[in-house]
């Protein structure tokens, strides 16, 4: 046998048995502390009257009360709603449209896909910086259109408090729609092409086949794309900071900026924690449908 000394053999046997479990301890411990304990901690902070430093003075729902009376919070929430809805809708529409076109046996598909997807490799700060330049009212795209002869053309959303949030949508959609295209394309590739042939033999036109057979069968892709985009929208921070800095004024604030500003710049830790907690609740709410769908699928899968 391999080992001469009985002690070495015993140690080895012990290691064989426990190493798989021991190897998971660092990560398990890290996630217990840095994820679960931190979540609990943040939730706890949101129930305290912590200001500049975390404190343990239980204050009940006071911070939430304050939060709900702050105009700036509701601006943030409204901005997130506008941004979220438009962002998801445009990304899905552009993504699905381009994916269907790309699925028509396109010659340079690989190249096109590479081009469509590269924005996702960029930092959102970079995206914000470049769009800020392109949307510059005097020197950017407005100037290009004017120099084409349409001198009355005006595009100053970036400095218009009522419109600035839409510039965030423009930049964010540019960044993510290629990714949604790739998701849908993967979904389309998963569809058995004999179904399309069979439908065409039955006399259905190609657009008809897409509308009534293919797009409905992409439901799972829609699902994961929506969940992904919604959670990206709720977390969006970098892009807004880089593109508008939250301005003009605080007209483009979103909850993530609110949380950062109140939690770290204004010394209102309790409010920051309350905002973070509500953000997590929003993500959880967005996840619920997926969770239910998964559970249902499992149940259905078992009953077959």
């Amino acid at each position: 046998m391999a080992d001469s000394s009985p002690n070495v053999a015993l140690l080895q046997r012990w290691l064989d048995r426990w190493l798989p479990k021991l190897s998971l301890i660092p990560s398990g411990l890290a996630s217990l502390i840095f994820i679960y304990a931190f979540i609990a901690w943040t939730i706890w902070l949101s129930f305290t009257s912590s200001s500049l430093l975390p404190s343990n003075n239980f204050a009940g729902l006071k911070e939430y009360d304050v939060l709900f009376q702050l105009d700036i919070w509701w601006v943030s929430v409204a901005n997130l709603a506008i941004f979220g809805v438009l962002y998801v809708a445009f990304c899905l529409a552009i993504g699905l449209f381009l994916a269907i076109l790309l699925d028509q046996k396109i010659r340079a598909e690989g190249w096109l896909r590479t081009i469509y997807l590269y924005p996702l490799a960029l930092s959102l700060v970079v995206t914000g910086v470049v769009w800020k330049w392109m949307l510059n009212p005097s020197l950017g795209l407005e100037h290009v259109v004017q120099s084409l002869g349409w001198t009355g053309f005006s595009f100053d959303w970036l400095i218009d408090p009522n419109m600035a949030i839409y510039t965030v949508v423009i930049a964010a959609v540019w960044q993510a729609s290629g990714f949604v295209t790739a998701l849908f394309l993967a979904g389309l590739r998963g569809i058995d092409s004999s179904i399309i042939k069979a439908a065409q033999m039955d006399g259905a036109s190609l657009p008809r086949v897409y509308l009534s057979i293919i797009i409905p069968s992409l439901r799972p892709v829609f699902f994961s794309a929506v969940i992904l985009l919604v959670s990206l929208a709720i977390k969006s921070f970098d892009l807004v900071i880089a593109l508008t800095g939250g301005g003009p004024g605080y007209s483009t604030w979103v909850p993530a900026i609110f949380m950062y500003d109140f939690g770290f710049n204004r010394g209102q830790i309790g409010l920051g924690a309350a905002a973070a907690t509500l953000m997590m609740a929003a993500v959880a709410l967005a996840m619920l449908p997926m969770l239910f769908a998964e559970l249902k699928e499992r149940r259905d899968g078992r009953s077959h």
Binding site: T42, L112, S193, I196, K235, F237, D238
Partner: protein, 294 residues
Amino acid sequence: MAAATEDGIQRGGLIARVLIYGVLIFAAAYFLLPLYVMLTTSFKTLGQISGGSLLSLPSPWSTEGWSAAWSSACTGGDCTGLHQYFWNSVRFTVPAVLLSTLFGAINGYALTKWRFRGSELIFALLLGGTFVPFQMFLLPMANVLGKLGLANSLAGLTLVHTVYGIAFTTLFCRNYYVSIPDELVKAARIDGAGFFSTFRYVILPLSTPILMVCIIWQFTQIWNDFLFGVVFTSGGSHPITVALNNLVNTSSTGIKRYNVDMAGAIITALPTLVVYMVAGRYFMRGLTAGAVKG
């Protein structure tokens, strides 16, 4: 007229094909436009920028924006360009990528090939980190980093990125290792290999594709991060994303130097863009894997 292509599906006639290609090429132009603008602007002089069109090519080409962005532009407090922040980002991104990938690989291996009672629970526990908005972790983490003496340090950022990256790398590796036959591990155990030697000699050599996915995913995420950088560091220890934002949005001089801004943006974007160009297919695989659960 409908024409059948080689796969037997009728796809419409010539006009439809031309239209499709037209739309796809237009879309490509739309995606490429910001890159084009970034590049051309970065090589223009300020005079060319204010006098010319956004879409015109630089003439003559000038590298003044680039040298300023790299070594002399002001980023908030100091005016030494982005170079030191670039190296800052390298210094915490590389160890955080390697550490989180290593842990992810070992976790994935232990969770699939040495399953035990409760291992699924541990997997679910680790996965929790992929769903929660990072805002939930900021306040406690700032506190803990301060207590550990890691506030405002690259070591602190390394820790943060490693910890929150493990959930993703574990997910990727677990899903990959599930497809490696258990018999291989059994054979290695019969051959006398233990937990780590099986990993080293049998599993790791088979892991190149998934390690690539992990490394590229983590590299992109960590390099591009702004939130942790802005919250946990200040001044000289900022990562490049924060420095770029400072460069662009806190200019003290009054005159906007767009060529410098754009050169800075390209410098910031270059590492991840190069990775994307070189290993795009792994990038895509990571994205779809992340999308399924993330």
